[in-house]
Amino acid sequence: MELVLSLGIGIMTGSGVWLILRPRTYQVIVGLSLLSYAVNLFIFGVGGLKVNAPAILADGSKTAALADPVPQALVLTAIVIGFATTALFLVVLLAARGLTGTDHVDGREQSQ
C-alpha cells in the first residue's frame, strides 16, 4: 500500500517537475496541478494509511482506529485553494498571452 502510493507520488512529482520546467504556460499549469496532487497525497499520507477505518465517530468506537483527521482537514482546504490558484494562474497566463502575443513563460520567444 505504502509502496504503491509513494511510487505514485514520486511519478506525479517527477512529471510535475518536468512540466514546470517547460517553456509553455499550459505545460506549467498542468505541471502545477500534478504537483499539487502529489503534495496533497503526501500530506495525507503523513497521517498514516488506514484501509477500512471508520471516518466518522460512532458511539463506542475507539478513537485510535479512526483515520487521522488533521492531515485530512489540511488537504481538504488545500484542494479548494488549489483550484482557486489554478484559476488565477490560468487567467494570468491568458492575459499574458493576449498582451505579449505568445504563450512562452517569459512573455517572449527565446531567440536561441
Binding site: G8, R22, G31, I81, A84, V92, D103, D106
Partner: protein, 969 residues
Amino acid sequence: MPERLLFFLLVLPFAGSIATALLWRTAARSLPAWLSGLVALATTILTALYYPSVTAGKVVRHEVQWVPEIGLNFTLRMDGFAWLFAMLVTVIGFLVVVYARYYISAEDPIPRFFAFLLAFMGSMLGVVLSGNLILLSIFWELTSIFSFLLIGYWYHNANARDGARMALTITGTGGFCLLVGVILLGHIAGSYDLDVVLSAGDVVRAHPLYLPTLILILIGALTKSAQFPFHFWLPNAMAAPTPVSAYLHSATMVKAGVFLLARLWPTLSGTFEWFWLLGLAGITSLVLGAYFAIFQRDLKGLLAYSTISHLGLIVTLLSLGSPLAAVAAIFHMVNHATFKASLFMAAGIIDHETGTRDMQKLSGLYRFMPHTATLAMVACAAMAGVPLLNGFLSKEMFFAEAVETHADSILDRALPYIATIYGAFSVTYSIRFIHTVFFGPPPSDIPNPHPHEPPRWMRFPVEFLVLACLIVGIVPSMSIGPFLSTAVVSVLGTDMPQYSLAVWHGVTLPLLMSVVAMVGGTILYSALQKYLSHCEDGPPIFRHLRGQRIFERILVTVSWKWARWVEANLGTRRLQPQLRLVAGFSFLAAAVPLYLAGFDAKLPPLAQVDPAFAMIWVIGMVSAVSAALLAKYHRVAALVLLGGSGVVTCITFAWLSAPDLAITQLVVEIVTTVLLLLGLRWLPKRIGKIDESTALAARLRRLRDFALAVICGAGMSILAYAVMMQPVPDTIANYFLDNAYTQGGGKNVVNVILVDFRGFDTMGEITVLGIVALTVFALLRRFRPAPESIGTTEQQELQDAFDKAQPDRKPGDTVRDYLLVPSVVMQWMFPVIITFAIYLFLRGHDLPGGGFAGGITMAIAFLLQYLGGGTRWAEDRLRILPLRWIALGLLIAVATGVGSWFFGYPFLTSHSQYLELPLIGKIPTASALLFDLGVFSLVVGATVLILIAIAHQSIRTYRIRTEPKPEDT
C-alpha cells in the same frame, strides 16, 4: 507632580503636531504658529513644574505595560539630568517656534513646518524621558525621521533633498547600531530598564560582550552627534530652514548623542576602550571641527563646524571618565545650546535681511542692524570662551580637566596642547564671524541692498538666549548652579565631586591657557584675514577630501554598481532557470539533512500490496507521465489525462478512509477540468513540431530537466515511503478525535476541525478564496486576447459552413443540435444536483460532506446549465449574482464569529444543541453549521464567479488591437 502627567507631557507635543497638521487648509498664517507656540509653552511650563520632584537625586517614574514578554515597557523616567535636558528641549523649542513665526515665509506650507517641529520636540522629549532602552531607541529613530523631514522641508531644493537623505542614512544606520547595542546591553544587564542598567555597571564592564556593545552604542551616539568620522552630514544638513538648524542641529538633536553618552556614563565609562574610542573621536572632532570652521564661507557652515567642534569637546570630556569632567560636559551641553541657538538665529536674521550667508559678500552690517549685531557679538564671544560669559566657564573646566592626568597615555599627555590649539581656533572663527559680517565697509554685492533690523519678536528669542549667556556667565552659582547640581547628582549619584562655578579662580594654568588661546587666535585671524576674504570654500588641502563626496561614492558603488553586478550575474528574468533553481534547492533542502542524519531507506518485501490498488495506480502513473508528454502539442488529451490522475487521487482518498477528501477532490476535479477547457480557447495553435530537438543545446537542456525531474520524483518517493512507514506517533489528532463530539457537537471530525476547532483558519481560507475570485474577475474585465484568437474558432467556421451548404439548415443549427440529449438531461439534473448539494452541506457535521464540497457541487449545478444551454440561454433564465454569494458568505462567517462575543465567548466559539423540527424530528445543530453556511455560500460564489468570468470572454466582442508602431509615434 503626579507621575501620570509625565505621559501627558510626552503626548502633548505629538497631539499639538497633529492638531497643527490639520490646519493645512487655513489661510491664516499665524494660526499654526500660535497653536504650536502655545503647545510648546505649555510643555515648557509642565516640565518646569516637575523640578521639585527631581531634586536631590529623586526620580519620577511612570510605567505602562507594553510588550512585557520581551521586556519592553512604556517606562517614562525623569531625574535631574533628564529634567535639565527636557527644559533645554522645551524652552529652546518654544523660542524657535516664536522665531520661525517670522522666519517662514507665507509661500511655504506653514502648518507642515510647525507640525514637524512639534513632533520632533515630542520625539526628543521621548529620548530624554525614556526609562527603557528599547523605548529610547524607538524615540531616537523618530528624531532621525523628523530631522529628515525638516531638513528636506524645502524639498524643491536639491541640496535640501541630498542633505536630508544623507542625514537620514547616517543617523538611521547609527540608530540601527544603537538598537543592537542596547539589546546587547539589556541582555548583559538582564533588563532593558534604565534603572537596572545604570546599577549594573560593574557587570557590564566585565562582560565579554562589553566591547561589541560599547562600539555599537558609540556608533549610534557619534553619528547622532556628528562626530568624526561621521561628522560630514551636519554641514550638509544646513540646507534646512534656519530655525531647524538652530533647534535640531545645534541645541537638541545632535545633543542626543552626548545625552546618551552621559546617560550611560555610569554604566559604560571608565574603561580603557571607552577612553580611547571616545577620546580619539572627540579630540579629532574638537580640533578638525574648529579648524574647518575657520575656512567656511557660509555663515551656517561655520556654525555647523563649530558645533561639531563643541560636541567634540563634550565627547572628550565624557571620555576622560572622571566625575569632574562629566560635570563639565553636562555644563557645556547647556551652555553650547544657549549660545549656538542664538547664533544660528542671528545668522538666520542676517540671511533673511540681506539674502545671503556668504561671508565674502557680507560686511559692515553693524550700521544697519546694531541691535542684532550686538547680540550676535555677545553670543560669539561666549562661543570663543571670553570671560563673563557662560562659554568661558565650561571651557575653563575643560582646560582644567585637560591638564589633569586621567589615563596616562600619549593622548592624555598631549591633551593640554590640543586644548589650547582648539581654543585658539575657536577664537579665530568667532572673530571672523564678527569682524567680516558686522565691520568694514557697507556690503556692495548682496541680493537685498537695504537690510534693516528684524521684527521685534523675531529678535526676542535671540535676546532671551544671549541674556541667559550673560547671567550664567556672570553669576553662575546663583543662576544655573542648583539646576546643574541636580542634574549632576542624578548622573553621578553619590560620587559627587567638589566643583566651584566661580568666574575667578585666581591665576591658574587653565586661565593661562585661555590667555594663550585668545592671543594666539587673534594673531591667527589677522594672519589669515587677507586669505579668507577671497579664498575658496573649505580649508586648504582638506577641501579636496570631502566626506560628502566619499559618502556618495560609497553609496553609488554599493547601491548601484554592486547591485547591478549582482543582478546581471546572479539574477535572471527568465522563469525556467528560476524554477530549475527552486526544484533543485528543494531537492537539496530535503536530501542533505536526510543524508547527514544517516538516512537509510530499507525496502521491505513487496507483500501487502493490494493488486487492485496497484492497478489503479498504474493507471494514475501512466496518466501523469502521458500528461507530461502531451501537454505541449495535445492540450485536450493532456487535460483528460490530468483528470485521470485526479480521479486516481480521488479513489486513493476513498480507499484510504478519507471520504471527505474523496468527495471534495471529485467535485474540484470537475470544476478544474471545465476551467482549463474554457481557457484552451485563448491559447495559440501549435502546429507541428518546432525544430528544437535538433539543436544540441536544447537537447542538453531537456536532458538536464529530465534528470532533475527524475531525482525530484525519486526523492519524493523515498521520502513519502519513509514517512509512511514510520509508526504514527501520538499526535494532536487524538485531541480532536476525543473532543470533536463533546465540544464540537459533530461526528465528522474533519468537518468539526474545519468549522470549529480551526474555524479561524478556515475563515482566512475562504477570504483568500473570495479575493482570488475577485482578482480573476477584475483581471478578465480588461482582458485583451491575442488578435488571432478573436472571432469564431475553426470548429465554429466548419459548423457554419456545413449549415450554409445544407439548404434546410440555418447557420448555428449544428451548435444548437450538438449533444442535444445530454443537454436536456443536464437541464433536468439542475434541481437534483442542487438538492444533492444542500444534502451534502447539511450532513457535513456528522457525515462526509460540508460547506466546501456542498458549495462546489452547487456551483456545478449552475455550471451544467451553462454547458448545456450556452451562456446566453442560461443567463436569460438564471440570475446568479456570484458577487452577492461571496459577500453573503463572508458576512455570515464573520457574523457567526462575532455572535459569540454577545454571549461572552471569544471570537468564533461555537455552540451546539439539538433542534426539534416538525416532520423531520430531532436534528443536531451547532452554530458551526451557520459558519459552514458562510463557507458554502462563499465557495458557490467564488467558483461560479471564476468560471462565468472566463466563459463570458467568448461572447464578448473585441476590437482587434492595432499595435502602435515605434516609427509612427
